[in-house]
Symmetry: C2
Subunit: 491 residues, 2 copies
């Protein structure tokens, strides 16, 4: 598991101390605070030493509490600090003396305030740590999430490791991405919320992600790279080898001012940032939702998308019309199916009219509710016929996501139906090498994680968001001409 | 309840017959088909005569089944036809003989196919009905939804009436809008899915909505008005008096082709349609989601929005940065709060830094999780201070929508917390005449109907969608200069 990279010890610490654990009960009635709670829930203490530091207590939630870091048993590789910023200089000295490898400061109120004294304090802290060979994460951030070793800052993050690397300058967005992607079935190799980036910066983490064999996809929320040149170089090297999705915060004047307040970032011109992403072969998205959707697409068979021809299979003509509009607005086409395929569909589908051209209307009346589960045979033949035509690059459908009056509508039954749908679609998808994606009504999107994603089928809460994800992938592939193509086929 | 309008009998029929009820069990194991089932579930039979017509049965689901319409007891004002199109001409004759006032044909496969014989058949049917004074709805549509009298086409539509009139050329989109808005707490005066518009057209229904005292807001999905001049005139008269939201299907070349396949509509240029909406003072939206969001905004205090200055109150700096970007991209501003307000917030909020300017960071640590329920007093003072500054036109917040580890996270507890939040916000909102809106994570949006909407607080699944709704309202109000202002204050 060890990666030959200078940052590797940070992601695999042999002992963690939480300094400044809270003596007051939180909203959950428990003392200790968010980090101690998260480490306990994520299971870090099962394989490693976990210590609390606060001179006012001897024990908190079953964890021994020491007066200072120096009193903790060896080794303590990683320290999480919750103390006020005034105490940081002496904590740095103690950590150096203890041989700590990385210090994560949750504490805000340093350089991002713009106060010259606090800027100077942050700089001095970094200089002292570097001189002694200790690295700093933050300040003003949530720090590390490494499900493989039980490190985390949210008790409810997925505990199984995966292949997505998350880099976020914001703790709230890191939490939002882990939660949002986790519910849709994605899992993470590592996550870092790195705040002010006083010492370790985005390019350091991008370089680690490049060398981390557990990482196949990188998603990043960045407000302002501290070192533009180093960022471009690191992004270029990384995005050449691994798909990389970047969300930039502060792309408007008001937003840039907010970013400056938040992490002291100087956001710079979005035109330049966009050019950097394009040159590096990375994908840039404009909203957090787009980041989630694109990560879903890039961890399913939809990443093999290589053309803009879409076939829509859904219930109702009005849905078909609006969906077609959405596709066209994103530069995608909804061309008629070949005449021979239309002929086949006319034979398969009992009530056929104009609805078999594309979009294909799956609303064939109550005697034939096209749906895996209700009529799997008929439904399978419709999708097989469309996929076998090889006239389409992507099949988007709502089939199998609805329920009929009188059907057992328990969560379990719905989940089973969704799972069956995803499984059937994935078999046809892989046989004919045509990616498939499901449109799930918003409230159902949470089911995607349990029932859809593992079958390699992407899912989106609306046609608009599916279309945007598809268009972003295609544009990214066009721009990467001459660069390695990660996804030439889906075998 | 009766409205002095020629279409009123259609929305208040004294008896309904469903012709062509199904003898085969549907996926729910029951015979009769969707319309009979919906009418029974919506309770039409409690106050009115409900009859089934099929010569092969004498009874279906407790409803007497007659061989023909002519055999049903008087009166039968409205007939819903599920029979194949070949049988329609003789059904029309029977309905005329019976004195039926309106015939709704669900059956597709007429003019929208483009087949000259079928086009001629549809035209002949219309001519014959008109000659005899009977009106036709459709063909190729789901027909009427009138919760006040128990008419409907979906068994699960809300049964309580409301003030939103829905017009939709598509049955699937009608269903999607009723379902989507219903879950978010809106209720309907009347709904019509009118398909091919062979006889009754969009302008007829718009004119009815204008005269219907139960209707305060109109939402319409239209593929192609059959008579452009009459449509513009009707839309102008209506939108002058009542807020009207229009979603146009077929605004791209591919989409227009799909619309032509669907309802035989000739979609026409979107530029012209857009100009028509602008001239009429109607709101045009581009997606079904935008229609839902705007309808939510227009049925809450957000309809009083009259300026583009937004204050954001949310957890986390990264969220603040992205939210500010979203606002700016939609032409909204996130200006700093007045110095005096910042001073007040600095006193109220224990841990203050740069986060009190705007966006206001509601993430003040675990000892003060700003949240109605966790610390109602503090949270109330923060919102009161912001609202009292009168420097903001809209307050958008995520406060009160999150849960903390260890809190009781049952649906009921979540609902109560949401309800408390909406109630507290609405009191402050109305005192200071500043609209408030909540951002609810996607899966929670379904709770809005039960807990948020009735307090006059709008809710949206993302900042992006909230920003779009706000921008559309402002643009609409700018264009309406010189027209009646529906919402000058919120008293």
């Amino acid at each position: 598991m060890a990666v030959d990279h200078p940052l590797d010890p940070i992601f695999n610490p042999r002992g963690v101390a939480v300094v400044g654990v809270s003596t007051r009960p939180g909203p959950d009635g428990r003392m200790g605070g968010i980090f101690l709670n998260a480490l306990l829930e994520q299971g870090y203490h099962h394989d490693h030493g976990l210590y609390a530091v606060n001179p006012k207590m001897t024990e908190v939630r079953g964890v021994t509490c020491y007066p200072t870091v120096l009193d903790c048993p060896d080794p303590v590789d990683h320290v999480i600090s919750q103390i006020p910023s005034e105490g940081l200089p002496s904590l740095v000295e103690q950590c150096i003396e203890k041989g700590v490898k990385s210090l994560h400061s949750f504490t805000a109120g340093l350089a991002e305030t713009g106060d010259p004294d606090l800027v100077a304090q942050e700089r001095a802290m970094v200089a002292r740590a570097r001189e002694a060979g200790m690295r700093l994460i933050g300040p003003n951030c949530m720090g590390l999430y490494v499900p493989g070793v039980g490190l985390g800052f949210n008790p409810r993050s997925p505990m199984e490791p995966g292949n997505v690397f998350l880099l976020s300058q914001s703790g709230a967005n890191a939490g939002g991405i882990i939660d949002g992607l986790g519910r849709r079935g994605l899992r993470f190799s590592k996550g870092v919320s790195y705040g002010n980036a006083a010492d370790l910066k985005s390019h350091d983490f991008l370089d680690y992600a490049l060398h981390d064999p557990q990482t196949d996809l990188v998603v990043a929320y960045i407000e302002g790279p501290r070192d533009g040149r180093a960022f471009l170089d690191a992004l270029k090297r990384l995005a050449r080898e691994k798909p990389t999705i970047v969300l930039k915060g502060g792309i408007t004047d008001d937003g840039a001012r907010a970013a400056n307040s938040h992490t002291g970032s100087l956001a710079g011109s979005i035109e330049i940032f966009d050019a950097v992403c394009r040159q590096a072969g990375a994908m840039r998205v404009r909203t957090l939702e787009d980041l989630l959707d694109l990560a879903v697409a890039m961890t399913t068979d939809m990443r093999y998308l290589h053309g803009n021809k879409v076939t829509l299979v859904g219930a109702g003509g009005g849905f078909a019309v609006l969906s077609t509009d959405q596709m066209a607005m994103e530069g995608l086409e909804v061309p008629w199916l070949p005449e021979a395929t239309q002929e086949q569909l006319r034979e398969i589908i009992p009530i056929a009219g104009t609805s078999i051209r594309n979009p294909v209307d799956a609303n064939f009346g109550r005697d034939h509710p096209m749906d895996f589960g209700s009529d799997t045979g008929l439904t399978r033949r419709v999708f097989q016929s469309i996929a076998a035509a090889h006239s389409t690059d992507l099949i988007l459908t709502t089939v199998g996501t609805r329920w009929y009056p009188g059907q057992d509508r328990s969560d379990r039954a719905r989940g089973e139906q969704l799972s069956l749908t995803a499984e059937e679609l994935s078999i046809i998808s892989r046989e004919h090498e045509v990616p498939m994606a499901l449109i799930l009504r918003e409230a159902r999107l949470e089911d995607a994680g349990d029932f859809v994603h593992d079958h390699g089928v992407a899912s989106f809460p609306s046609i608009e968001r599916a279309a945007r994800a598809a268009a972003t992938i295609l544009e990214w592939k066009r721009r990467r001409e001459g660069m390695p193509d990660f996804f030439t086929n889906n075998n």
